[in-house]
Subunit: 225 residues, 2 copies
Amino acid sequence: MNCNCNDRGQNCIEMVPIFSNLTYDEMVEIAMITTETAIEKGESIYNSGDILESLYVIHKGSVKIIRYSDTGKEQVLRVVGSGQFIGELAIFSSEPASDTAIALEKTIMCRIDGRDIKDLMARHPSIAFKILDEMSQRLKKAETLVEGISLHSVERRIAGKILEMDDGKGEIRLEMSKGDWASHLGMSQETLSRKLTSFQDQGLIRLKGQRGIIITDREGLERIE
Amino acid sequence: MNCNCNDRGQNCIEMVPIFSNLTYDEMVEIAMITTETAIEKGESIYNSGDILESLYVIHKGSVKIIRYSDTGKEQVLRVVGSGQFIGELAIFSSEPASDTAIALEKTIMCRIDGRDIKDLMARHPSIAFKILDEMSQRLKKAETLVEGISLHSVERRIAGKILEMDDGKGEIRLEMSKGDWASHLGMSQETLSRKLTSFQDQGLIRLKGQRGIIITDREGLERIE
DNA sequence: ATCGAAATTTGACCCAGGTCAAAGATTTTT
DNA sequence: AAAAATCTTTGACCTGGGTCAAATTTCGAT
């Protein structure tokens, strides 16, 4: 078994949604063909232009998927965390990646060869369904991002994202820098900063350190147009 | 056989990439469970909020997938044409659609029940692969759209799209109105109109009627930042 | 606890592209 | 072929949010 990223007796395979419907024996089969890979904060897993050959399932940590403009400005397309995968392009097309994946923190992944995963899917339709499900979620999210950027004001986008990130406790901890966050929201860091301060002045939120946000007026945030 | 959308002796199933790797008998099996549906220009196939239960494979015609802002402004997310499918959400999630599908012209589709297609995929992995492939293409396109809208100038986006639509002959016919096109590019109709006129003044293109564009200086278009 | 680096905030300025409204073209219908 | 409907262009004006730069705060590492 190459992938020995164990955690409280659990093999990483069990923790990953796309493999969750399998029997123990099937999981062992998968564990045999996966390789553990670790990466430090700020390092890239792949770069735009690379030909991808493996699917990476994230076991621990998180990764941002970005694109660069020709002036070097970056747009965060999505953030991928534990249990999710990156490199799905590897499974089908032989075209190079058009985006770049960079670890937001120390990240541990399981690498699976593209050919192997394809083979697995053919034998276990449930894996294909899970991947397909995840892909349609992503497509939907990407389309919501397009909608947000082109149809809503920056205030609305920020308020919406704050509410979306809230787990019910009303206290949020950002998993990335405000700069990355701004880029994900499709706006400049300065604008994000200004608007957050203004939200705080209006009593909608309270900022706590660099990455903490406390919601103090949920209805107020929902009302923002 | 419910689906009788034949065309020069070809059954619609054969014309659709996601079914293209099947044997004749398998195609017949699929034809049995599909239902032909036709729709007029401007009519919707589904609306935001609907619970989708079927996958629609487009046989002839084209459909725009859009979202509305609360002020009624629309963003075209993508245009789907012959051989492609819509309603993939139906296969997995039970959540309502967040977008709306409207025919750009008279369109003929084959409807397949969500449960049936899932069943088909389990028996024919090649169908799942094709759908997955299509989904990753779409995700990539959606991400390119995000990149375009947030990272590039309107000029660059228009020039890029013109070059992308060119089939090599240098003469393009738009498959939608300029209004829809502007919305797809994430800009106002007026801005699109102004920039196209300016491109023409610069000798980069020549406009012909409402939907014709002739490229007269390809390098010039590529040079636009 | 202190220092240095990195991230964030604030100020001043400005322009790309949006809006509204009216006129002009194309296309479709009768 | 004329009329009606739809789509597109143009003009005038304006504002949201970007940019650059400098000041400040926070965080991580000694």
